[in-house]
Symmetry: C2
Subunit: 506 residues, 2 copies
């Protein structure tokens, strides 16, 4: 008996007209007897229940592409970075004033859409739109609003704004979900300002102690801790940062691929089945400061020359083991043109879809770096070099994220949605893939069913002002995200989601 | 007829007695008819003229080792650095407050010793002790009081303080030089704070424009220029920084070797006949910032991996060409663990005793670095690597110092002094050598006869808090310095110093 409502909605949309703000009058009720008022809305409106929607009705829930892009570019006014083409890149470091401005927009916008907003002790911001049964946890859409120092407009931002667009579409279409749905903005996902990526979803998942996270100190040049900055910008919430305090029934994340695969293979949607494993290390090389002009090569303990050999060697090991090895940070001391550096510290980021490969790389690094420091030859590392004095090396593992497999129910929701939306040609446009990057979904997946949706980005470039995702691809991703959440919402009754759910009160 | 005076002095010293402040009474005059009053002293005293001193008398001019060391450690209270053993190293960057304190000490101490102090537009500070003929330029002892950020207590400092000790010894012994003698503290010799080494002697010599020097901006983190800092600490003198305004008849510099040769060969004194050639470059590598987790190795333009190959290659080229190649500064952007750096800048310091070798190294760098950036293999630089995307490189020559040959008259003064002081065994204790490091003497030698004296330092370590020179070696060096200046002062009359001398007025 809801069909008429839905058809009526479709008919109106086809006619291109906006809805009148219909009141729940006796006359209306007589026309659509089954409808009911939203529990939280200021004005009671007609509803359609997701449970009562078939794939046809789902198609009626249409993302507004121009509105989505307006929201993205509107929020990108806060924390603009280097100019690129008609737009700028982004430089919105976590908990900066720019981040605060974007967060404030997120809070006021979601509240205006009827959400209840909760901020936890890590500044994670959860906006929840009630459903019909609010005794169970919401299904969340989540990502992050912080960026790299020279980042783009899509990494993280698209995921959050697409969540806001989902809320707008549900509101526009009077859609009532069976269970609450929410959007979460996770804090400092990038780990660019406070050097631990995905740290706040990590605390939520119970894998990182809140004290550890609060005491993280921002990277050069500042000295502030996360706790200080959370407090300063007013996002140190009183709710504990924990899956126990804020449980989730599911977590969906839309993200640009940040790699070249979708673009190269002309695909539109990546159904993400998991995330590759990775480890972060800090390598400290200790030699001896000496004068560049008076110290012959054999009397040197050159920490930078040695670090260069190690960086090159890590790349060779990665090549040999089909892994990734990258150094993104390097500091040396004392830092003078005519002084051979006696001290170098650099970061090392090792990744592979397989835990065993990362473990093997770790083993090889621990085997070879001390040899290189000691001056031994490793894979011709000393080819054509003058033997110098021995150095020492310290290898510190800062962070480890094992390979993640997402939840079959969420993957199914995404897969079905992608194929339904992309239609007959979908088998050419949708692929299943693992994520190369870590995302908050990695931690979310430890505490609730999770999956991700990837859309192509130009040349696979990310963490760069040139990062770009076509408007239609952003919209397509948001459409699949919305449909996945609704499918999952229905699925929660149709078949038991194989996951223990914490008790929940909105 | 001065012999009696000198013998009398010697006799008194041998008796271990200090001089009474004898007045120039008629009686005294009758005893030592040839003596005369110092032109500048507040109280006329008995003199001995260097011209009238033979090698025997020269030996009577004895450096006071404990006083020398007291002066060194006293001035090292300003700008102490990292602790090492019983002492600390030094961190006295040019024109810092610590540098100002050391300069103030230098001015007041030399003025108290009867010197006239002149400060030029680069803050070079010239303390001149008048001689008998003040219409000709002084013979200078010069070095610098600034240090590296993690420097020691001897590099530069020994040279200036030994100059002050020379003034003390001349005063104690009533010694009258034929021509004025002086001590100069050159500004920012290290080039550690304002990135141009020996910049102020360079301006004095007319090789560097004073505007260029004044506009030098301090290296990270500050932003001040040399002119601003000279003004701030009150050392922006009105006298032009030029050999024309302040001509020199000769320049002698005592310095620790900063290399291992003297110590390894058990020598005490190095007679420095010249300085090796060197060039400083800034190398800018441009690639592309991309995500470390999602960008496969072949889709990367990794500026740090490429810079690592270049640094290693420069070392290989140096090994192959018996030259030195060193990188002491490296900056990368954006500087995030999970972003492949798209931009790296590093310094390259190339040295060799031969200009042709430095020229050849320069040619090879300019030939090979662009190839490495483009991804071509150079001497197995790509061995075991994954071919990536091409990068670009910019090679900027910042500074060039050709090989320097010191002046035969000055070298002779040092050689004769060293052998006379070290006695019968001197042939085992004195060697002639070229300096690996640049010194202000390089620029001084362009405008006046110049030479240097090296003393051993432990393990050849310099630009390091561990830098150490034995007290007896410091004193021996100061003794040779003093004797060299006196010999040169005598020589200026005995035989025409083969050098055009600017007119001079004290």
């Amino acid at each position: 008996m809801v069909l008429p409502t839905s058809k009526f909605i479709s008919a109106l949309r086809i006619a291109g007209r906006r809805y009148p703000a219909l009141r729940a009058t006796a006359q209306c009720r007589s026309v659509f007897p089954c409808t009911q008022a939203r529990s939280f809305a200021s004005s009671p409106r007609w509803q359609i229940r997701t449970k009562e929607m078939n794939d046809e009705h789902l198609k009626d829930l249409k993302v507004n592409q121009s509105r989505l892009m307006e929201d993205i570019h509107h929020t990108c006014q806060w924390g603009t970075g280097e100019r690129w083409g008609e737009h700028t890149g982004m430089s919105r470091l976590a908990l900066s004033d720019a981040d605060k401005a974007a967060r404030d927009w997120f809070v006021s916008t979601t509240e205006a859409l009827g959400c209840k907003v909760t901020i936890d002790a890590m500044g994670n911001t959860f906006a929840v739109r009630p459903g019909l049964r609010n005794d169970k946890p919401p299904t969340f859409v989540g990502s992050h609003l912080d960026t790299q120092p020279t980042g783009g407009r899509y990494d993280g931002i698209l995921g959050v704004i697409a969540g806001v667009e989902m809320l707008r579409v549900l509101a526009d279409n009077w859609t009532e979900t069976e269970y609450p749905v929410g959007v979460v903005n996770w804090t400092n996902e990038e780990g660019a300002r406070f050097p631990k990526s995905m740290v706040s979803s990590g605390v939520w998942a119970g894998d990182i102690a809140v004290e550890t996270a609060h005491n993280l100190r921002e990277v050069h040049p500042g000295t502030a801790t996360m706790a200080e900055e959370l407090k300063r910008i007013g996002y140190l919430g009183e709710t504990p940062a924990s899956h126990k305090a804020i449980p989730m029934a599911g977590h969906f994340e839309l993200h640009i691929e940040q790699g070249p695969l979708l673009e190269m293979s002309n695909k539109k949607i990546g159904v993400v089945t998991g995330v590759q494993a990775y480890k972060w290390f800090t390598i400290n090389v200790k030699g001896r400061d000496t004068h560049t002009g008076t110290t012959d090569l054999k009397s040197r303990a050159d920490a930078l020359l040695t670090a260069s050999k190690m960086i090159l060697h890590s790349h060779r090991l990665a090549t040999a083991n089909c892994a990734l090895a990258s150094t993104g940070i390097l500091h040396l001391k004392p830092g003078s043109t005519n002084t051979v550096p006696g001290s170098v510290s650099f970061s090392l980021d090792i990744r592979s879809p397989k835990d065993e490969t990362v473990a093997k790389m770790t083993q090889l690094i621990n085997r070879d770096f001390p040899k290189i420091a000691a001056g031994q030859d490793v894979l011709d590392s000393n080819l054509g070099c003058t033997p110098g004095l021995p150095l020492s090396v310290e290898i510190v593992e800062d962070f480890s994220s094992p390979a993640t497999n997402f939840h079959p129910d969420c993957i199914t929701s995404v897969r079905q949605s992608a194929h339904a939306i992309l239609g007959p040609e979908s088998h050419n446009l949708v692929i299943e893939m693992t994520s190369g990057a870590g995302h908050d979904s990695v931690y979310a997946s430890k505490r609730c069913p999770t999956s991700m949706i990837f859309v192509p980005c130009r040349e696979g470039v990310s963490h760069n002002p040139r990062e770009f995702c076509k408007e239609e691809d952003c919209a397509m991703g948001a459409q699949v995200l919305l449909a996945s959440v609704v499918r999952f919402d229905r699925m929660r009754d149709e078949r038991r989601v194989s996951w223990k759910q914490e008790p929940y009160t909105l």
